[in-house]
């Protein structure tokens, strides 16, 4: 993990390359507490320019507290944050784009007027027409911001975050509460933005979102980073097995006769983890199990989280 924190090692296209890429944001030993709660407990990492870093963790892990310190919205109790080698100053507001987890907009003004309002705050802005295209706002541009659907609202908030053409974009749980279709639409927008070379910091508790959008992932729990790297690296480092799942009707006591497998009972399936699929399947057939309905899947970040913390991501 340390290697990825300090050397910006990147894993690209199937082979390891140690590149010394430009670190745009450097975080050293950050602490923050609220009353009795230590929300962030000594985290350090760096973000490579043009990459997307995902902070992944359950609710209450310290993701939002961390990202708000990076945004300059709240101050750390201890530790430092360096943007391009310098402490976050007043000019950082002009370079950062921020999408908070929950934001209300002023009532009774339209989407277009909201964009105009925020556009007036910055010395340099994108044209509203460009934002409308990037964030697919055309169909509701003259609607009162109160009357938007969840997905439309998040797209407007994304457009506001992009209005100053930021170098670095902070997205705090941008798709929480959206339906799957709206979530996929939103991911497409973020992928287009990534292609423009912007650095993105994203917090999420959706493992799939992190997998789709992020180049690097930091898994957080109890205010600490417990693992960091690219999604593939993390999985490769922690797992050398796959998951075989059987319908829940299977007889667990007979499964326990097999060596070399771990058994996880879930609501609708029984999962076996194994390093040797062929052997396990052979054993199952020998034990006369019905393999109709059996599925084999790779390990996911969800499994990793469970492995590292002993609890599920979406608790």
């Amino acid at each position: 993990m340390d290697k990825y924190c300090h050397n910006n090692a990147v894993y690209t296209e199937g082979h390891f390359e140690i590149k010394f890429m430009e670190s745009i944001l450097q975080v050293n030993n950050l602490h923050k507490h609220f009353q009795q709660v230590q929300a962030v407990d000594g985290i350090s990492f760096s973000i490579t320019a043009g990459k997307c870093l995902g902070l992944l963790g359950p609710n209450g892990a310290g993701k939002t507290t961390t990202v708000e310190m990076l945004e300059g919205i709240s101050q750390p109790d201890q530790g430092e944050i360096l943007y391009k080698g310098e402490a976050l100053g007043k000019g950082f507001r002009d370079r950062a784009g921020i999408m908070f987890q929950s934001t209300a907009l002023q009532d009774f003004i339209t989407v277009r007027e909201t964009l105009t309002l925020f556009g007036q705050f910055y010395p340099r802005t994108l044209a509203i027409a460009d934002l409308v295209e990037m964030c697919a706002l055309a169909e509701f541009l003259d609607r009162d911001a109160r009357k938007l659907s969840g997905g439309q609202r998040q797209r407007l908030l994304l457009a506001i975050a992009l209005i100053n053409d930021p170098e670095i974009l902070f997205l705090d749980e941008p798709t929480t509460g959206l339906d799957p279709q709206a979530r996929h639409n939103f991911w497409n927008l973020v992928q287009h933005i990534k292609q423009q070379g912007k650095t993105i910091v994203l917090t999420t508790h959706y493992m799939e979102e992190a997998y789709v959008l992020c180049d690097d992932i930091a898994i957080m729990d109890h205010g600490r980073i417990i693992a960091m790297g690219t999604p593939r690296e993390l999985l490769a480092k922690h797992f050398d097995d796959v998951v075989l799942s059987l319908p829940s009707g299977a007889d667990v006591s007979r499964l326990k006769q097999m060596d070399d497998v771990d058994i996880i009972q879930r609501d609708s399936t029984i999962e076996l983890t194994t390093g040797d699929v062929n052997l396990t399947v052979k054993n199952l057939l020998q034990l006369d199990f019905d393999l109709t309905g059996m599925q084999i899947r790779q390990r996911t970040l969800e499994d990793l989280f469970l492995e590292l913390t002993g609890k599920e991501l979406r608790q």
Binding site: D94, T103, A104, Q106, T116
Partner: protein, 332 residues
């Protein structure tokens, strides 16, 4: 301070206010309803006894002075008392040394008192008449109600709105932009200020249409008093709303400052009859100064010089509230 950012927030806030039709209608209708309601309630007969002002009390006794149904009030300033006769606040003024009395030629009370005076030892007194419209309770009430309307609109329109913005995250989003607290607060103040001035003017015209009240002073002076008063109360609203996040607490605090002002600033009744301590206490309320200054303009036709002490107090209070409010302001 960037004018561009200030204007952007000002325009957005104005749009929000003007498009919120229900709130806008209420802001205009509420004070008109109050004044019309009071005008109706107090339109019945006057139950007061006769009031006579006495200047230059002489030693010679006058049988007239023993009349138990007449209230005799010693006065110092004959000119000011004459104005009261003109406005029917005094039914008669008597100068005992010079043996002259003044009555209003349109006042039935004056006519009656003249008969009583002549019939009870005052045959030698010579009659002078003045003329002028009666000052009704409602004429006296209007300046106070205008001030009270300014107060509610300023305190709740700014204080409550800022707390709501803070609670639901509008302020946090603005904090993440280069907008400064000064730009934001100045825009809130000026947006509310011009809205109050426009709405007060509409309320003034609307009320005047219904009850045709008295205005003896300059409209410009009244504008100065109400605009400065609005500025002072808006600043007070900013101070109340500077830090809190709860709309319930904001509502409670705003009621806590507005209700004592509503009852103890002389909006509904004159403070003269109250305990001296209460009268002193009332001086800390901006609304007392607004009400007294606008009443002096509207009823007595006083110029700005005559109300300068009220203007100075309002200005000092505004600066104090504004400074403390901006200093303690927080976005989230």
């Amino acid at each position: 301070m960037s004018w561009r950012r200030f204007l952007a927030v000002l325009v957005a806030r104005n749009r929000e206010f003007l498009r919120d039709r229900a709130a806008l209608a209420w802001n205009i209708l509420f004070p008109v309803l109050i004044v019309v309601g009071f005008a109706f309630a107090f339109s019945g007969e006057n139950l007061e006894q006769y009031k006579i002002g006495i200047v230059n009390t002489a030693d010679n006794s006058l049988e007239f002075l023993n009349n138990p149904y007449i209230q005799f009030i010693p006065v110092e300033n004959a000119a000011a008392s004459m104005t009261k006769v003109e406005r029917h606040q005094l039914d008669m003024l008597i100068d005992m040394r010079q043996q002259i009395f003044w009555i209003n030629d349109t006042s039935p009370n004056g006519y009656m008192l003249e008969r009583v005076l002549k019939g009870s030892g005052g045959e030698a007194y010579s009659r002078q008449t003045v003329s002028g419209r009666q000052i009704r309770y409602v004429d006296w009430l209007i300046p106070g109600v205008l001030g009270m309307n300014v107060m509610f609109s300023a305190l709740f329109g700014v204080g409550y709105v800022i707390v709501r913005y803070r609670k639901n995250g509008v302020l946090k989003r603005l904090k993440a932009t280069p907008l400064s607290a000064l730009e934001f607060l100045a825009a809130q103040v000026f947006s509310r200020l011009w809205l109050i001035v426009i709405i007060t003017a509409m309320v003034y015209l609307g009320t005047d249409f219904f009850i045709d009240f008295s205005m003896f002073g300059s409209y410009l002076n009244l504008l100065v008093v109400l605009a400065l008063g609005a500025f002072c109360l808006i600043s007070m609203g900013l101070l109340v709303a500077a830090r809190i996040r709860s709309e319930e607490l904001a509502g409670g605090l705003l009621n806590m400052v507005s209700w004592p002002m509503m009852f103890l600033s002389g909006v509904w009744f004159s403070l003269e009859g109250l305990h001296p301590w209460v009268q002193k206490l009332a001086l800390i309320f901006p609304l007392t100064h607004i009400t007294e200054a606008s009443r002096a303009i509207m009823i007595d036709g006083v110029g700005l010089a005559g109300i300068s002490s009220h203007l100075i107090v309002l200005l000092v209070m505004s600066m104090l509230f504004l400074f403390l409010g901006a200093w303690s302001f927080r976005w989230d």
